[in-house]
Amino acid sequence: MSVRIERRLEQPRWLAVAVPTGSIVLALLLTGAVLLVTGHNPVHAYHRLFDAAFVGKDALTQTIVSATPLAFTGLAAAAAFRMNIFNIGAEGQLYFGAIFAAAAGLYLHSWPSALLIAAMIVAGAVGGAAWAAIPGVLRAFCRTNEIITSLMLNYVAALILNYLIFDSLSYWRDTSTPEAKVFPQGKMLSDAATWPAWGIVHSGPGLVIPLGFGVAVLVAVGLWALYSRTRFGFEVQVLGDSWRAARYAGIRTRRKILAVMCLSGAIAGIGGASQDGDFRHLLDPRGLQQAGYGYAGIVIAALARYNPFAVVLISLLLGGLQNAGYALQGADFPSGLVGVMEGLILFCALGCELLRRYRVRVVRRTGREPTVPATEPTA
């Protein structure tokens, strides 16, 4: 007897649904085990989690609030990973989007609201793209591994963000009151820079959809169309599969690397702009850094297998989890559970991915006659 792992020649369609579903179920079971071992009641914990994420008052609205940045960073990761460009830097690109968008929001405060919001989105995209362009240029022209550089730049971006608010008298910092000098924080954006939100369900738990989430859905549609319907998308597809084949076909690989990095950074940057405009209304280093949006986005993109629509769906799921995690933070609810669950979901998804690509077979070794199982092959 031996276990053999074989590459699947054809991938059945049902697996594409069964594998992610199975991995989430498995992750829930494993998390349950962790809870049991540490003396918590998993049923109770899951019940509260589900309530806080999807059922309770404002739960769904808050879930969408948490999901919005995740959708952006997830799409950013998906856009790059599709081409085997491992942009780990959505985190930093989101910060830069937030910095640029806040600057636009503050500087252009006298503009009419619609224009101002558009300017913030553009500024966010430019900020994210600019920050992503650094690893992009290095990868394209110096062949420097983008994984490490984009990762390192996350920390540099975080430090710049801190510097702007905590250790300098920058344009973004509120210096108007004596308190603000002791407890540094960002300047408030004007009302015109506040992004609109639409109440969809007013009764019961209620549901309000912020503009940012709508933008994320639009970006998902755009990304899908770009990657499946255009020449650019075709080139990305070829590059994602075989670098050498792409070069051979006359695809300008350097430009494409740079373009895809900037696209990815721009998407993350709009996520940063949405943080300013939708939710925080000032440049808020602590809030932006606390959640680890960029890293969660990579998890989401991997779970969604880089499909933009699936990214949006899964960001709602993980958004629910994060939202519930914050909502329930307290003495009686285990902190850190959200990270444990996210990690386990990803482990399971990665493990189960093997089932999609390979078939695991238990092979019984036999003698010459395949129908009669021999006990000793060499006898």
């Binding site: 780990i88 290095l138 550089t149 390192m152 710049i160 250790d167 285990p334 990270g339 990690g343 093997l354």
Partner: protein, 319 residues
Amino acid sequence: MNNGIVVVVAASGVLYGTPLLFAALGELLAERSGVLNLGVEGIMLIGAVMGFWTVQRVHGNSAVVLTAAIFVAAFAGAAIALIHAFLVVTLRANQIVSGLAVTIFAGAAGLSSYLGNDLNLADKPARHAFDNISPFGLQKLPVVGPILFGQPLLVYISWVWVILIALYLSRTRPGLNVRAVGESPAAADAMGINVAGYRYAHTIVGGAFAGVGGACFSLMITPQWVDGLTQGAGWIAIALVIFAFWRPELCLVGAYFFGAFSALPFTLQARGVTVAPELFQALPYVATVVVLVIVSMGWTKRGLGAPAALGTPYVREET
């Protein structure tokens, strides 16, 4: 006075560099076998929390408890690294995604925080911690003495490991085998070397080192537990391996260099000089990027010393 500040900064560079050194040695072992582990940050935090748990809960004399704590931290780190090894070696998962998953799972908002809270460890001083000791009175040596020989025991232990790992890789058969597995798993496999076995072993031992690196924070530098107390040291350790061209002895130099950068602003502040700490904190990251760029532009991959098969799963060709 000028001399004084240099000594203080250098000494704290050694101290702050030690967790980086342990974690980088671990990452180096894994990478030399061809496994990129981006989960170091998470593994360090697990080591930190479990080491701290041990000193709070185990009773006995300080030396015994601290030894136990280091072993527990190493074991916990190894256990987390095992998950990564299983995913990337056996299940051939993407090493980047798997490593990030480890950090999310174990990191500041994950298992380490869960354990720290559940075991009720936060905001209490450590019952035991590593104190500075001076072997053979070497601290009295001018300049070098206070920098190198007024340190806690873990610092001296880390030196032993640097030497052992350097010798292991260059002078022993298993060391030769690991390098072969990291350079060309197909060649190693054809020569009867167990590629998966070597990758498992080195990833797991690497995790143990990262766990000890984490414990350096909670038992030595700031003897207490707070969520996310490593503050990104795991990422610096990954950068450090590159910075050191995958060589243990250069890891030592790099670790102290980076350690000095992170310690510098505090030292300066204590002396009344105010500089934005971000400036110094950013230096390790910027330096790593610069080194990476110079290396990738100038020399070939071979000159740099990156294991050629780093990050790629090994599957025996079938048809």
